[in-house]
C-alpha cells in the first residue's frame, strides 16, 4: 500500500511542476481557450466514472455511476468542442490576412 501511495505522490508532485512550466508560457490572449481546454482535460475523471459504474452492483451505485458518466462525458465532449470553436476563430482570422 505504501509503495502505491509513494508512486502516486511522486507522479502528483512532478505533474505540478510540469503543469506550471508548460502553462506559464501561454500568452494572455489564449487564456480563455486555455481555461476551456484544460477544463476539457479534467473531464478525464470520466475514466474513473466508467470504472466505478462498470463495477457497480447495486441499483443505487449504478444510478449514481450512471449520472457520473453523463456528467463526465458532458465535461469532455463539451469542453473540447467549445475550445475548438474558439480556436477556429484565431485560425480563420489568420487565413485571409495571408
Amino acid at each position: 500500500m505504501i509503495d502505491a501511495l509513494l508512486t502516486d505522490l511522486t507522479v502528483f508532485i512532478l505533474a505540478i511542476f510540469i503543469g506550471y512550466e508548460v502553462i506559464s508560457k501561454v500568452p494572455v490572449i489564449l487564456h480563455t481557450p486555455l481555461m476551456s481546454g484544460t477544463n476539457a482535460i479534467h473531464g478525464i475523471v470520466l475514466v474513473g466514472a466508467m470504472l466505478v459504474l462498470g463495477a457497480a452492483d447495486h441499483t443505487l451505485t449504478r444510478a449514481l455511476g450512471f449520472v457520473a458518466v453523463i456528467l463526465g462525458t458532458i465535461n469532455v465532449v463539451g469542453g473540447f468542442f467549445v475550445t475548438d470553436r474558439m480556436l477556429l476563430m484565431f485560425v480563420k482570422k489568420k487565413g485571409p490576412k495571408g
Binding site: 500500500m1 507522479v11 505533474a15 480563455t32 481557450p33 479534467h42 478525464i44 470553436r85
Partner: protein, 472 residues
C-alpha cells in the same frame, strides 16, 4: 457481446501515452498558430484513455456506460455548438461543474465500494475520497451559482447576510468532523451522504457572497478545484492518468487565477472574501462619489460630429468592453475600423486584461469578427500611446478606464491598472446610458471636459458612424 479485455500493463502504457498527449496539447496551446492543433492532440489523448478504459477487465457491464456516454456526448456537443461567444464564461462554468460533480460521485462510489463489508477504509484512500468528494462538490454547486450570476438568473450582486461567517464556520467544522469520522472508519454510507450534502452547500455559500464582476476569477479557481478533485479520485483509484491530468489542470487553474487577480491588482483573498466587512466603507465612498458627480454635467455628441473627428484623426485607439460584445457590435466596429483605415487613420485596439468576462475573452470576441491579431494591444504595450492618440474610443467599457482606480483609495477598484484613455486628445464614449458598470462604481471620466458621450445601443451607434463616415 464479448469484449476482449486488455492486460493491465497495456492499459497503463496507454495511460502514459494519453498523459504525454495532454502535456503536448497544453504546450501547443501556448501559441495561436498551434493552439487548435494542441486541443486536438489533447482530445486524441482523451480518446485513447477512454477506449482502453472500456477494455479494462474491472468493467463488468457495458450497457449503462454506453447509454451514459451517448447522452453526455449529445448534451455536451449541442451545448457547445449553440452557445454564443459572449456566453462562453458561463458555459465553461457549467462544463467545469459537470466535471466536479462527476469527481464527487466517483469518490462517493469508491467509498461505498470499499465499505461494503465494514466502514473501515485504508487511510490514504479515505483521505483521497474525502478530498475528491469535498472539492468536487464545491466545484459542482459553486460553478452552478457562477453560471447563475453570469447568466442573470440570479442577482449579480454579492449576497451577504448577518451571521454569514458564523454559518460558514459551523458548516466547515461539521464537514471537518465528518471527514475525520469517515477516514477513521466510524462513519457509514448514511453519514457519507450527509457529508456530501454539506460539501454541496458549502459550494453555494462560498460563491454567493462574491459579486458577478469577480465570477471569472471564481470560475478559474473552480476549474483548478475540479482538476484537483480529479487528481484525488486518481489517488483513490490508484490511477496515474487521473492524477497527472487532474494535477496539470489544478496547476494551470491556480496559475490563471493568480494572473487574473494580478491584473486587477487585488489579492485572491480580497476577491473571495471581500464582501465580508469591506461592505460599509466601500458603500460610503460610493455615496460620496455619487454626490460629487451630481453637480457635474456630461457632454453629448452627435453622430456627425463624432464621425468627423474620427475621420480626421491620425491615431484612434478603440477600447472594447463587454458591452460591445453584448450588443454584438464586434463586426460593426471592424467595419468602422476598415473605413477609417482606408482614410489613412491608424486604428489600434487596447485590450485590458479583464476586458470581457474572462482573461482573453475580448480577444476571442474580436477574433470572431476577423479583427487582425496585430491590431490588438495589451495594457503595457498601448498605455504610452494614448498621449499621441487623437481619439480614445470607449465602446461598452467602463471600469477599465475609470481614473478612480489611480486616485481614489476608497474605490473598490483602487490600484487596478487601467487604460489611460483620459490622456488622449478626445475621448469618445459609446454607452447605452449613464448606468455604472459591472462593478457598480461611478466613473469621473464621463465628466471629463475632453469627453464626448454618444448614447445608445453600441451596435446601432457604430452602424450610424459607419454610414456617416462612408458618406464623407
Amino acid at each position: 457481446m464479448h469484449v476482449p479485455a486488455l492486460s493491465p500493463t497495456a492499459i497503463r502504457v496507454a495511460y502514459i501515452v494519453a498523459s504525454v498527449l495532454f502535456i503536448f496539447g497544453i504546450k501547443q496551446l501556448s501559441s495561436p498558430k498551434t493552439a487548435r492543433n494542441g486541443n486536438l492532440i489533447a482530445a486524441v489523448g482523451m480518446l485513447i484513455a477512454l477506449v482502453v478504459t472500456l477494455l479494462d477487465r474491472q468493467i463488468l457491464s457495458y450497457g449503462l456506460i454506453f447509454v451514459g456516454l451517448v447522452i453526455g456526448a449529445g448534451i455536451g456537443a449541442v451545448a457547445a455548438r449553440r452557445v454564443a461567444m459572449t456566453a462562453m464564461p458561463q458555459m465553461v462554468a457549467l462544463f467545469n461543474g459537470s466535471g466536479g460533480g462527476a469527481a464527487a460521485l466517483v469518490s462517493t462510489l469508491e467509498y461505498m465500494h470499499l465499505t461494503r463489508t465494514s466502514p473501515h477504509v485504508p487511510t490514504d484512500q479515505g483521505v483521497s475520497i474525502i478530498v475528491g468528494a469535498l472539492i468536487g462538490a464545491i466545484s459542482f454547486t459553486g460553478s452552478i451559482i457562477a453560471w447563475g450570476k453570469l447568466q442573470g438568473v440570479m442577482t449579480e450582486k454579492a449576497l451577504t447576510y448577518p451571521g454569514q461567517k458564523i454559518v460558514n464556520g459551523i458548516l466547515m467544522l461539521a464537514i471537518l468532523s465528518l471527514a475525520i469520522m469517515i477516514v477513521g472508519g466510524s462513519a457509514g454510507p448514511q453519514l457519507f451522504v450527509v457529508f456530501l450534502c454539506l460539501c454541496l452547500a458549502l459550494g453555494v455559500l462560498a460563491v454567493i457572497p462574491i459579486g458577478g464582476g469577480d465570477m471569472p476569477v471564481v470560475i478559474s479557481l473552480l476549474n483548478s478545484f475540479t482538476g484537483l478533485a480529479t487528481a484525488a479520485t486518481g489517488f483513490a483509484l490508484h490511477n496515474v492518468v487521473l492524477i497527472i491530468s487532474g494535477t496539470l489542470v489544478g496547476a494551470s487553474g491556480t496559475l490563471l487565477t493568480i494572473l487574473m487577480c494580478k491584473a486587477m491588482n487585488r489579492p485572491i483573498t480580497n476577491v473571495l472574501f471581500g464582501a465580508f466587512g469591506a461592505g460599509a466603507p466601500a458603500g460610503k465612498g460610493g455615496g460620496d462619489r455619487a454626490a460629487a458627480m451630481a453637480g457635474k454635467t456630461v457632454r453629448e455628441v452627435s453622430v456627425e460630429d463624432a464621425a468627423t473627428i474620427l475621420s480626421y484623426s491620425k491615431l484612434v485607439i478603440v477600447i472594447p468592453g463587454y458591452g460591445l460584445a453584448v450588443a454584438q457590435a464586434q463586426h460593426t466596429i471592424r467595419e468602422l475600423a476598415d473605413l477609417l483605415k482606408a482614410k489613412g487613420v491608424t486604428v489600434k485596439y487596447a485590450i485590458h486584461p479583464v476586458a470581457g468576462r474572462m482573461p482573453g475573452h475580448m480577444n476571442v470576441l474580436l477574433a470572431e469578427a476577423n479583427v487582425p491579431y496585430e491590431e490588438l494591444y495589451d495594457l503595457d504595450q498601448i498605455n504610452s500611446e494614448f498621449e499621441r492618440a487623437d481619439v480614445a474610443m470607449v465602446v461598452g467599457a467602463n471600469d477599465v478606464v475609470n481614473p478612480a482606480a489611480r486616485t481614489d483609495t476608497s474605490s473598490p477598484i483602487y490600484g487596478m491598472p487601467i487604460l489611460d484613455a483620459d490622456k488622449a486628445q478626445h475621448i469618445l464614449i459609446l454607452k447605452r446610458s449613464m448606468k455604472p458598470g459591472f462593478a457598480g462604481i461611478e466613473n469621473e471620466l464621463f465628466y471629463d471636459p475632453k469627453t464626448m458621450m454618444l448614447f445608445g445601443d453600441a451596435k446601432s451607434s457604430i452602424s450610424k458612424l459607419v454610414a456617416t463616415v462612408k458618406s464623407m
